[in-house]
Amino acid sequence: MSETLLLRPEIIKPDTTAGDVQVEASLSWFERIYGIGAVRKAFILLVLAGLWEAYGRWLGNPLLFPTFTETLTALIDNIANGVIPQRVLVSLQTLLIGYGIGIVLAAILTTLAIGSRLGADLLEALTSMFNPLPAIALLPLALIWFGLGQGSVIFVLVHSVLWAIALNTHSGFRSVSNTMRMVGMNYGLRGLKLVRLILIPAAFPAILTGLKVGWAFAWRTLIAAELVFGVSSGSGGLGWFIFENRNQLETSNVFAGLLTVILIGLIVENVGFATIERKTVRRWGMQH
């Protein structure tokens, strides 16, 4: 035994109560600014905008790739004259319908999949078959079933979000720990209730990722689908706005439309999804 032991007196402390502890605030000016998420993000956006501007100028081909300032001007003009807001409204409406239907179908499919082996096989088979199919594969059926216009666009939208969400949700469900599942079953929860009350919250990080991916692909598909399925005069969403302006070689308007998509993406991510994350998975300690 090491000799040090021999020398050490015992220590007994009277019961003390804990006092208050001041968290030290010795962060430097830089660290404190850096600690604000919005500042970091704004910095990143500024850098990206700067890169865009610089490259655009250097390229000097406004027909192909306008500069950031040109795009911004076009965006402001089109917001001021009300065109973009109106188009965005049309697009968002279609998008939300398609997205919503996609989520519901994904929920049904994954519930079936978690409930029975045949359901799981069905989901796997459908996903592996249909997910890689491009929208043109759906075109004939869309046209027969829904005709030209919004119905078909929504159909294609659903196709683009359904599988990604279903895949993520299903994989999330399957990653739920056995213990958690057993706890739910212990309460007598089965089927839909088990899914709703146990599996969905337990798989929430994965589901959220699915929703994010689905959201992005819904946009992409929407823009493309609006061209394919056409519009009746006067109506039309952001996709059509982009298409029109492309044909008219108003490239800065095209990019203004795309910038709108980017801005909406930023808002949805930073206001929508980020809030959901903060209130759920972060708070629950399920994501770090």
Partner: protein, 287 residues
Amino acid sequence: MPVSFLPRLPECTKQNSPRRRARWRQGGRMNAHQPQSIGAPLLSVEGVTLQYKTPGSLVTATYRVDFDVYDSDRFVLLGPSGCGKSTLLKAIGGYLRPTEGKIRLKGHEVKEPGPDRMMVFQEFDQLLPWKTVRENVVFALTASGRLEGAEAQERAAAYIDKVGLTKFIDSYPHMLSGGMKQRVAIARGMAMEPDVLLMDEPFAALDALTRRKMQDELLQLWEDTRFTVLFVTHSIEEAIKIGTRILLLSPHPGRVRAELNSVPAEAMGTPAAVQLETRINDMLFGH
């Protein structure tokens, strides 16, 4: 209500389940002055073999285990690490199907889990991370249809207080220490006031004082509601304190080594208890 024990009956050896059951009934008939009390067992485990089948291997967790649990038993499963205690408890909970044998609850084969057999798991991740301590307990009560609204809230608060976590009632599980998590699970299990409570090493993560408190709470609750509890532990002392009947399992794969009567809780520390402890010690570690 004080617990009273008859002096231990002479032990009988048995080779296989049918014979044991025959002798058992005989024994019952011999003590015919209380025939009504024999009754049918609440839970009967008959020749249960439990196996895990994984693609690469087949692990036998328990091998032809028999025992009967009667109403209001405090039945303890005691055995070395990995002998299949948790597996057995999960099978009784309805999460696993025996490869051999039958598990019957009130005469019906156990086919699926349900709130009549409330389980306290061994794992730390048995709390729902998206619910606070309070919500975890309340949810168990409401989801299983046991209680609703204010009643559930009250009962939850009461049991959380019993396990000493009132200060943390609105914390999420990830903000708790290991022992605190287990205490929430205990509160949840007890709050359900189930007919059968299955507890898998619930006090393992607790310090001596807290453990003693929890044991007392459990016994008190038992006094009040006379539920049946199946309790897995690896502490012999705890087995004697908690149990009225103790099942000893031999190492991997788990087989029944012995089924013993315990001493009353009041008798803890008396020579009877010490003697029982030594006996169990010898049986488990004797060879």
